[in-house]
């Protein structure tokens, strides 16, 4: 048991900074409402240090609160694809040759109406991202990047056609939960076609967590700061595991 609390300048002082808008005009009553709200979140103490009008009907607040809540750090399970370090490109190629013995085929796309290519490109394109080569550069991988705004239907069709081992789905826009709808539809389509088990399904995007992805039926999810190495490592290990079963 390792109990932790927010830290301002003294252990366990519980200090937290907050800011938010309220749909009321600025003034002493608004500040009091802001304070009461913060207290309603179980803070023991709250100072509203700033308020400003955003319009006649909205106002902005900055507050510092002091919480007594804590969590048990020992009980925290990290939301990440794997606890192991990722292999390098060469190690992945080597692993494929050793454990799988044939080229591994991956297909990636940014799906739905989402037009953000930079993320999926960072993972797949030759040149890669931040000095990590993309999947296209891996000698023992065959990688197809379908780009952005690809309908789920089309992605699945193509993947089946090229006999893909893994499908990579990128989702960047999350407003109104579009990513959840898109990802759910993708898995449902696969299942309807009886193809879910044929592919390792990988999701990614700046707001995608592993937990969310797994919840929605993917094998894994990767967030901000992912490199091709991480993705390749996961895929080939998963394939080797599948093969063993």
């Amino acid at each position: 048991m390792h109990v932790i609390r927010p830290y301002g300048d003294t252990m366990d002082d519980g200090k937290v900074q907050l800011s938010f808008t309220l749909p009321v005009s600025d003034g002493a009553r608004g500040r009091e409402a802001a304070r009461k709200l913060v207290l309603s979140w179980g803070f023991k103490d709250c100072e509203v240090v700033h308020s400003a009008p955003l319009s006649d009907e909205f106002s902005f607040y900055v507050a510092y609160g002091k919480t007594e809540s804590s969590v048990d750090y020992d009980a925290m399970v990290a939301d990440q694809a794997s606890a192991d370090a990722s292999m390098t490109m060469d190690e992945v190629n080597e692993y494929i040759r050793r454990e799988i013995g044939r080229k591994v085929v991956v297909v990636g796309a940014c799906t739905g109406f989402d037009a953000h290519t930079v993320g999926i490109d960072a993972i797949m394109n030759m040149k890669g991202y931040n000095h990590h080569y993309g999947l296209e550069r891996y000698s023992d991988l065959e990688a197809y990047n379908l780009g952005a705004q690809v309908p789920n239907e089309k992605l699945i069709e193509f993947s089946a056609k090229v006999n893909a081992d893994a499908i990579l789905v990128s989702q960047v826009v999350t407003q109104k939960e579009t990513h959840v709808h898109n990802m759910t539809e993708f898995i449902e389509l696969l299942e309807a076609k009886g193809l879910r088990d044929r592919f390792v399904c990988v999701a990614g995007g700046p707001r995608i967590g592993n937990k969310l992805a797994v919840e929605l039926g993917f094998d894994v999810g990767f967030g901000r700061g992912t490199y091709a190495d991480d993705v390749a490592t996961f895929i080939v290990k998963k394939l080797a595991e599948k093969k063993r079963l």
């Binding site: 319009s55 006649d56 930079v118 579009t178 901000r224």
Partner: protein, 523 residues
């Protein structure tokens, strides 16, 4: 204007010449073509509006009716059929629109008396043209009435709730906080719709549908704020994507003041067919020019896709091309809000100097253009505090180089579409910084052989080499080979190619003729 960069005038002139040469064959192509959306835009100017029960807009119905009979028929233009129906039926525009929406097919009426059609068309041209001129006059009057009340540069804020009524609330608040320009961000992927939705809308992703009714609602709301704040609030939307000309027409009719509108954005960043885009952009720009609408070009997109330091020259090259295509469509410099952006990696040593150099270069090369400067987005992160610092330096550079239109950076750029408070913090930051350095531009000079000066010269040189290459290869082939924005676009590929229309020998478009006359484009 005092120069701070000492860019050689002959080199700048040479770059302009290259742009002119590059665009000449494209212009030629444009003159010989129309498109489904150009035709629909014309119909809209004539008065076509409304939609059927399935939501298909009347202008689309008319064009589809013509094509359904024989695709070649559209080579004569769509206007003649619509006006013919008006003449023949004796209906008012409104009545005809309702009937078309209910299923009436304009092709069911044979073409009637040409003179009567032309007379009716002339009347419609006059009517839309004077409505547009009235809008323009109204804007000019208000800008005069509230002279010196806007910020310099204009502070530009976006709203993007997806719901026009929610947008209105946020836009009003933003204007009260100090925005000079409100841009209603469009819903994800509207660029790719080959029609413009109809009526007020409340559901969009990452933005709100551009519809004529939404334009009207927002314009009315902002007009109220104008009177309250004694400041003219400019309204912006997107004449971009597969319906550039139609949206330009809607904007002209509803008194929008700015339009996102780029000669190549659709091709490169939306995979829209290149021929189609070139044709559409020309017609949309003629409308914008007639309506006194400032266009905002999309050079920032080059920098979010590629490296902003390495590819700085692509911005300048695109500015030259956008300028040239603009001139060819009758858009004067003062309506050309050429784009650029503060998008370099914040960890670059002397990055601030390079940004300053790029912005000053744009200022000196395009002295009369209301340059549109975009904030950091790509290197923003969940660290909203660092993001705020980056926005502070961006605000600084903008004022330090006298930009025209200043898009406010959001500290939560990498997190969500702006909260109301994010916008407030953005305005607060910009007004603090800019007031605090009001006269910096006139007070500061750059060392002749310094980093800032040298960088601008280098970028100009790179731009010229690039334009020379494009000139040698030709525009269409250059795009096909991926010279722009690192993407390859096949000539016959991309969306909307099927909507391209040859202008036949009998092509009839009195609205286009009128625009050309008004803009002095008739040879």
């Amino acid at each position: 204007m005092r120069t701070k960069l000492h860019l050689p005038k002959d080199r700048v002139d040479y770059a302009r010449q290259l742009a002119r040469k590059i665009s000449a064959p494209v212009a030629d192509f444009m003159d010989r073509h129309s498109s489904v959306t150009v035709e629909r835009a014309t119909l809209r100017l004539a008065g076509a509006d409304g939609a059927n029960a399935d939501g298909i807009p009347v202008p689309n119905l008319v064009v589809d009716q013509i094509r359904a009979v024989d695709p070649v028929l559209l080579e004569d233009g769509a206007t003649i059929r619509y006006v013919n129906a008006l003449v023949k039926s004796g209906d008012s525009v409104e009545a005809l629109n309702v009937r078309i929406a209910d299923g009436f097919n304009v092709m069911s009426l044979p073409l009637g008396d040409r003179a009567a059609i032309e007379e009716k068309a002339a009347e419609l041209v006059l009517s839309s043209s004077s409505r547009i001129k009235d809008n323009r006059a109204h804007r000019d009057r208000k800008l005069e009435e509230f002279r010196d009340r806007n910020h310099k540069p204009l502070l530009y804020l976006i709203v993007a709730t997806g719901n026009i009524y929610e947008d209105v609330k946020q836009a009003k608040a933003a204007a009260e906080q100090g925005a000079d320009v409100i841009a209603v961000i469009r819903t994800t992927a509207q660029s790719l719709l080959d029609y413009v939705p109809f009526g007020p809308t409340t559901e969009g992703f990452g933005g709100t549908y551009a519809t004529q009714e939404n334009f009207r609602i927002m314009r009315a709301a902002l007009d109220e704020v104008c009177e309250k704040e004694k400041r003219y609030i400019l309204l912006t939307n997107y004449a971009s994507g597969l319906c550039m000309p139609e949206i330009a027409a809607m904007g002209a009719l509803e008194r929008l003041d700015m339009m996102l509108n780029d000669s190549m954005y659709g091709i490169l960043f939306r995979d829209i067919n290149m021929y189609r885009t070139f044709v559409d952009q020309k017609f949309s720009r003629m409308i914008n020019a007639h309506a006194g609408i400032i266009i905002n070009t999309g050079e920032d997109n080059y920098l979010t896709t590629s490296d902003a330091f390495e590819k700085a020259f692509t911005v300048l090259a695109s500015q030259f091309l956008n300028e040239e295509f603009g001139f060819r469509a009758g858009l004067p410099a003062k309506l050309q809000g050429l784009g650029h952006a503060f998008e370099m990696d914040p960890t670059i040593k002397n990055g601030f100097l390079y940004e300053l150099s790029q912005a000053q270069m744009a200022r000196e090369i395009f002295p009369e253009h209301p340059l549109k400067y975009m904030p950091p987005t790509k290197f923003m992160s969940g660290d909203v505090f660092k993001g705020l610092a980056m926005n502070t330096l961006f605000n600084f550079v903008s004022k330090a180089t006298n930009q025209g239109i200043h898009l406010l950076g959001m500290l939560t750029e990498a997190v969500h579409t702006p909260f109301m408070m994010d916008r407030y913090l953005a305005v607060e930051n910009a007004t603090y910084v800019m007031n605090s350095m009001e006269d910096f531009y006139d007070d500061v000079e750059f060392r002749k052989d310094g980093i800032i000066v040298r960088r601008a010269h280098d970028v100009l040189d790179q731009t010229i080499s690039f334009l020379e290459e494009v000139e040698a290869i030709g525009m269409f082939d250059s795009i096909e080979r991926g010279l722009f924005a690192e993407v390859k676009r096949p000539k016959d590929g991309g969306k909307g190619f099927e909507g391209l229309v040859n202008k036949g020998p009998d092509y009839y478009n009195p609205f286009e003729e009128n625009l050309k006359r008004e803009l002095g484009l008739v040879k």
